[in-house]
Symmetry: C2
Amino acid sequence: MKPRLFTPGPTPLPERVLRAMHAQPIYHRSEEFRALASRIRTGLHYLFQSSGPVLTLTCSGTGGMESTFVSLFSPGDSVIAVNGGKFGERWVTMARALGLKVIEVRTAWGEDVTAEEILRVLKRHPGARAVYLTYSETSTGTAMDLKTIARVVREHSEALICVDAVTAAGALELRCDAWGIDVCVTGSQKGLMLPPGLALVALSERAISATVTARLPRFYFDLRQALEADKRGDTPWTPAISLVCGLEEALAMIREEGLEAVWWRHARIAAGVRSGMRALGLELFSRSPSNAVTAVRIPDGIAWRDLQRAVDVEGGVTLAGGQGEYGGKIFRIGHLGYVDELDILGLIGALELALVRLGVPLRAGQGVAATQQALAETRLPGEMTHMH
Amino acid sequence: MKPRLFTPGPTPLPERVLRAMHAQPIYHRSEEFRALASRIRTGLHYLFQSSGPVLTLTCSGTGGMESTFVSLFSPGDSVIAVNGGKFGERWVTMARALGLKVIEVRTAWGEDVTAEEILRVLKRHPGARAVYLTYSETSTGTAMDLKTIARVVREHSEALICVDAVTAAGALELRCDAWGIDVCVTGSQKGLMLPPGLALVALSERAISATVTARLPRFYFDLRQALEADKRGDTPWTPAISLVCGLEEALAMIREEGLEAVWWRHARIAAGVRSGMRALGLELFSRSPSNAVTAVRIPDGIAWRDLQRAVDVEGGVTLAGGQGEYGGKIFRIGHLGYVDELDILGLIGALELALVRLGVPLRAGQGVAATQQALAETRLPGEMTHMH
């Protein structure tokens, strides 16, 4: 069986990206590297739809998030953070560990936060320096209405809008400048179709100003140093060079497909997955499902381990399990990055076979048929076909 | 001209390592990854000659060093740190930025610190919690007598012995257990023959105990969390999976050659480079040269930029320039990792041609002849030939 990752990171690597990384390293203190960095800069502005600097850090997405806390704030500053899953929870824990006061906005797992809730908290805490939002909560497969929330926060507050876009960038619609996002973080192994090891951090002018007055202790994750080096096409510490070479290629692929077409592909595929799941009698976990990852309740009477083994046997498929208290209760399908319609038609077919193998009574093809129908109903809209 | 890196990191990649990394990622929360981590563990114990845990972090060597400061100490703790070059200086700046008191032991660039000097400082500062040492100072090509210094510190103090072995591990003799090293850090893009992006951190029992009481703020670089995850063959955050796959292969290569043979190869090659430099009329910068990197004074009347261009034209060679106040005054030859005798015979030949091109009067072959003689004089000793 061919191994196939349907995990919400790492995601499959295009051959083009693999080939770009299969090379002797270039010296990072050289004209050659600075030229590479400058080509990448254009691609990163496009990806984030941001005109501000986008910094490349060598670390996971978690490290990228840490860089924003330590570089923008001072001890005792208070920030509002939404906690609706494992990653939201992680940012709350992290910010506290690093010396910030965190006003936590908890939502039940699988539910998204509304602009009204954020607004209520902002009014009670007018001194909050920032609002941290997880655009696509990977642990629950839940997306929030970032565009609306960012607009409301901007209208009522000076707080910086800081976004965990780890499973969102390159998958969900994201327009940093237009939506007024101040800080946006992603990791390489998601929509960017690279191995893990890089975090990308986009900053607005307001965020850059905050780095000047911030006093939290920091060194490796000091974005002031990264901003300074970035002006020269440089990084303060040795970057993960092979991944940077892959990044150039991945950004070129996104540019060729067109960013809106990339978002649309993710929307279409996600619609197909959701229809397929429902047709197989499975219940979606999230009330506001993300187009990057679908969380599904495991049917009563089926053990996660058995399901895992069955989809591996039927299609070489690796799915992700539930995290925290949802271990064994949900499974998660990652469908972001280098994933297309055929991939998920195959996936739904294999999942159907796996469920039959586990004794679930299903009519052959009932999941795949629903997926096909959803794909047919969400063809590219006319105004986007020119991007292909 | 074929491009050839003679920089002290990144270093050339073996085809075997490149091939190991040229693969679809494996899911990091899986049995497959835990099995990989367990195979790597054996190789890391061998590399560091340590029986304690060796943690794999996704960051550069600088991040690895930061993890030791924030995970072992509390605000206001004092540590002794040797500053004899750009990296020693960086650790001093970093430790202060993170909230520690640093007792700095400065040595002139190119000179190594002695056990007596460390001992004098230790006696004046009996409360120092640690001594930070840079085994091979990459900016000056200087090695210290780590074995003796570690012994003396152990005899007279309870201070933890913390070693920057970034250009030392896999190049210079290093025996963490036998020498009583508590903390040892390296990066992937040096003796380990990988691209940059991983730091490896070896910890003694005493160092592990220190992580329990440490109170500096930390999250991404919290070694307690890394130690906890490591027991399960896991990492707290997503690791740079492709580099971890390459690491397995690189460690296998070191095991096949034999660690002592690896150290010996570096000693032999370094002797060849030094002899070649002297025969070309060039002055070595360091009084205690490292076997990983040779720093050489740029002759009067020659501009670094011209020399750089000339070696590139004559042999596709990339050398590293001087750092800090030694920019334009010295150049540095990295000869660690996947480097052999033929590489440096070619390098000395190309450097000779470059100098002639720049108007230095030289007899053809005079540098290469001296390198050959040094190689002939430092054949493998009898007791080591069985390792081949």
